[in-house]
């Protein structure tokens, strides 16, 4: 092979590479919803709309923050049209930076107003809920924990788990607790977790594994983790905590249209699709997500938003809290 052949081949390859740049018949979505759940839905959208979906998924360890930070890093030249977030507070990080464009989808009308922004900057749908996963072999039915505070109960010293609060839904959960209890109680609770030698897992998935294996007696994770454990026939009991207190945290997945996105019309079509009741029903079936609409059918074992006492939180305030407490939280984690 001489230099000219090599140069020709390289030029051809580079053209192939560059040929993969954005085209008009596509939509780009960044999502922190589990790939195994979100990808089939995005494929169905492709079939129905004729648009090609290009997606960026999160890794488990940086769930909800990896793609979020990529959106922030790319702010000067947005690549994404839609951010499909696994929780309702990350979009506020983008909203505050002016990275989100308002869009009120006609399909959002059936969703309660507390789960969507009045200006259309975010719309919530199928939700996850923070629950306690309890290993039935280690905890007798009469001693089931019933509150999030039980994680710090000395009776369970060294036998509880929570995911790293710098990532994923645990960040939001801790921020919601701080917003509800106030700083002093929030910090005291986290300190008591450390004193109680609670395991700080790398992710909710790891909490599930620790509880399922009996390495810890119980831990806090999300409803989709609980469903996975149950489908793997793990000896797990699922407890919706604080039903006689502050209530259980509900975390809708949300969609937002990105400002200055390369394919805004495609982005709107995708948002309309995701906000259909069929998608909520499907997420209830495949990932035990709780539908926010009262008329969406759920499979056995999956509750609707009105079936339990939900923690009353202002997601915008929780988002503020989440950013404010980061330095302290990093110190708590040890970074």
């Amino acid at each position: 092979m001489n230099a000219r052949t090599l140069a020709t081949l390289l030029t051809l390859a580079l053209s192939l590479l560059a040929g993969c740049t954005s085209r008009s018949r596509e939509v780009v979505v960044y999502t922190s919803v589990d790939q195994v759940v979100s990808e089939p839905i995005l494929r169905d959208f492709e079939k129905q709309s004729g648009l090609t979906v290009r997606a960026v998924f999160d890794t488990e360890e940086t769930k909800s923050t990896g793609v979020l930070n990529r959106l922030v890093a790319e702010a000067a030249h947005p690549q994404a049209d839609v951010f499909w977030s696994g929780d309702p507070v990350r979009p506020f990080v983008l909203i505050k930076r002016g990275l989100v464009a308002p869009y009120e989808s006609p399909n959002a009308s059936g969703i309660p107003s507390s789960f969507r922004a009045s200006d259309g900057s975010w719309t919530g749908f199928a939700a996850r809920v923070r629950v306690l996963l309890v290993n039935k072999n280690r905890v007798p039915a009469s001693e089931l924990p019933y509150s999030i505070r039980d994680l710090a109960d000395p009776r369970w010293k060294g036998a509880t788990a929570i995911a790293n609060p710098l990532f994923g839904t645990t960040t939001m959960h801790v921020a919601a607790l701080f917003a509800t209890w106030g700083d002093e109680q929030g910090r005291a609770f986290l300190k008591s977790l450390k004193d109680n030698q609670a395991r700080i897992a790398s992710s909710n998935g790891e909490v599930k594994r620790l509880v399922a294996s009996g390495e810890v007696a119980f831990g806090v994770a999300d409803t989709d983790d609980a469903q996975e454990a149950l489908s793997e026939h793990a000896p797990i009991e699922v407890v919706f905590p604080d039903q006689d207190g502050i209530g259980t945290l509900v975390m809708p997945t949300t969609v937002s249209l990105m400002r200055g996105s390369p394919h805004p019309e495609g982005g709107k079509k995708l948002i309309d699709f995701l906000l259909r009741p069929e998608v909520e029903r499907r997420l209830a079936g495949t990932a035990a997500h709780v539908p926010l609409r009262s008329d969406v059918q759920t499979p056995p074992g999956v509750k609707r938003a009105g079936d339990f006492k939900a923690m009353q939180v202002d997601y915008s305030r929780v988002a503020d809290e989440m950013e404010r407490m980061q330095p302290w939280l990093k110190g708590w984690v040890g970074l």
Partner: protein, 508 residues
């Protein structure tokens, strides 16, 4: 040409790092405050200790095994070499996944105790030691295969095989041993996915966490990575001091043309030990195949694999070609000690040992601009990232073979009036073609196995296979994840097989 190659390397590797220096200076003390706490230093020490342990373990096993493979009468030593070497070309994360399916709680041989051991420091050491020991084995073997036969033959007239091995072969292989130690240390300290998967906090994971937290803080992440700079410089110094201009062989330069050293009564023991290690290296791959087959993952594979293999192949092949071209120019310059070559060589090494997430954020900062969208929004950004991280592979592969080729051909061509580019294309390249192809192949498989670099900036919908595997690992069906791992293994195996064929053809 050196200027052009240097410019490509600077664009790919130096600018991203400089952009983070700018970020660091903008955030100033706040960013540096991240180093005040004890935790980052604790993690740094842990990572350094882990890397030292893996390196020591790899040397203890890899050096004698390299001698056995290259110069002994061990039965089936070529096959053993292939078995032992292959896992090196796979993402260590895939191997960890295989061990998980073997020794995890629900694994084929899993118990509570094996799972506890695997998910901890011992597990990380085990996976990385098995993954990286072939670096030592192979570099030692290759250096011995390239050794001047007369030295060994003279020694064998007066000494026992053991004495020949310890007094002639081992000292002759010392540059290769030193280089393998550096490579294993660098690979271990920059490894992110295996410790994350096996739930062990390490320094690169802390840097990654700084980028993955709710408050995006690239300046802080860069500040956190600063302790790695003196470590990189130390590695460079070590390499210059103990490897530097000395020659050592690379893939397939010489044949096993001499009579092997007889192992005598030690032959059965050595055979058992060496083959056990080779088979153990393969165990996780076989387990992945079983897991993928049993759970129906292989049938589901077409649904989940997408275009990821094509993305891996295309971006990897183009990147490897660019790297081999840079390697030819820069590697030749480094071997011939041209002006500026040492600095560029050092830059390529620095980019290799810098935590990949740092490089990734720098690449976003440099390339996500309105006038560079053709690069950033396409697979080209993957090529840029791979070139930034793995140019060192091409440079080292080529410089090592150029060191072994005679200078007088180039001098004659120069006297005859051939310009530098012509000498490079008509003299250096043909003389060192096998080394360049070897470098290309090595760079290609390094790109194929990359996860940490690409995961931060891969273009939407164009993820390489390793990234797809990693994002599906936590929540995807285990048999499908195992099937994706098998696809990665198959892809790498196919590329290696084709590469070896190309190497053989070039030898004719």
């Amino acid at each position: 040409m050196l200027v052009a190659a240097g410019t490509v390397l600077v664009l790919a590797a130096l600018l991203p790092l400089l952009s983070l220096v700018t970020e660091l200076s903008a955030t100033g003390r706040a960013a540096l405050a991240v180093l005040r706490g004890p935790r980052p230093w604790e993690l740094f020490l842990r990572s350094t200790g882990l890397s030292a342990l893996v390196t020591a373990g790899a040397l203890v096993v890899g050096v004698p095994l390299g001698v056995l493979i290259a110069r002994s009468d061990l039965p089936g030593r070529r096959m053993l070499w292939l078995l032992h070497l292959f896992p090196l070309f796979l993402p260590p994360f895939v191997l960890a996944l295989g061990w998980f399916h073997l020794f995890g709680r629900t694994g084929l041989l899993g118990t509570e105790a094996t799972a506890r051991t695997l998910f901890g420091g011992a597990g990380v050491f085990w996976v990385l030691w098995l993954a990286f020991t072939p670096v030592c084995t192979s570099l030692v073997s290759l250096s011995l295969l390239g050794l001047d036969a007369s030295l060994e033959e003279a020694a064998r007239l007066v000494g026992t095989p053991a004495r020949v091995a310890s007094r002639i072969l081992a000292p002759a292989a010392s540059p290769a041993i030193a280089l393998s130690a550096i490579v294993v240390f660098a690979l271990t300290i920059s490894e992110l996915a295996v410790p994350m998967f096996l739930r062990v906090d390490v320094f690169p994971a802390a840097v990654f966490a700084r980028l993955g937290g709710i408050d995006y803080a690239p300046g802080e992440a860069f500040a956190l990575a600063l302790p790695l700079v003196p470590l990189s410089l130390l590695l460079l110094f070590f390499e210059r001091r103990f490897v530097g201009p000395r020659s050592f062989a690379v893939a397939g330069l010489r044949g096993m043309s001499r009579d092997p050293l007889p192992l005598g009564p030690w032959r059965p023991v050595a055979t058992l030990a060496a083959w056990s290690l080779g088979l153990v290296s393969l165990a996780p791959l076989l387990v992945l195949l079983v897991r993928a087959t049993r759970g129906g993952g292989l049938q589901e594979l077409p649904r989940w694999v997408g275009r990821a293999p094509w993305t891996s192949l295309l971006s990897g092949a183009v990147a490897a070609t660019v790297i081999a071209t840079l390697g030819l120019v820069l590697g030749h310059a480094a071997a011939r000690r041209s002006r500026g070559a040492t600095a560029l060589d050092a830059l390529s090494m620095l980019a290799f040992v810098t935590p990949a997430p740092i490089l990734g954020v720098g690449l976003i900062a440099v390339w996500n601009r309105s006038w560079t969208q053709a690069v950033y929004a396409s697979l080209t950004i993957l090529v840029v990232g791979y070139v930034a991280r793995y140019t060192v592979v091409g440079v080292r592969a080529v410089s090592s073979v150029v060191l072994q080729s005679p200078l007088h051909f180039e001098e004659s061509a120069a006297v005859a009036g051939a310009r530098f580019s012509r000498r490079l294309a008509r003299v250096v390249l043909p003389l060192n073609l096998r080394g360049v192809i070897g470098g290309w192949l090595l760079a290609f498989v390094f790109c194929l196995r990359d996860l940490e670099t690409a995961v931060l900036f891969y273009p939407a919908g164009r993820e390489p296979l390793t990234v797809r595997l990693f994002t599906l690992e936590a929540n995807g069906p285990p048999s499908v994840v195992a099937a994706l791992a098998v696809a990665q293994v198959t892809l790498t195996g196919a590329v290696l097989a084709l590469g070896v064929l190309a190497l053989r053809r070039s030898a004719r």
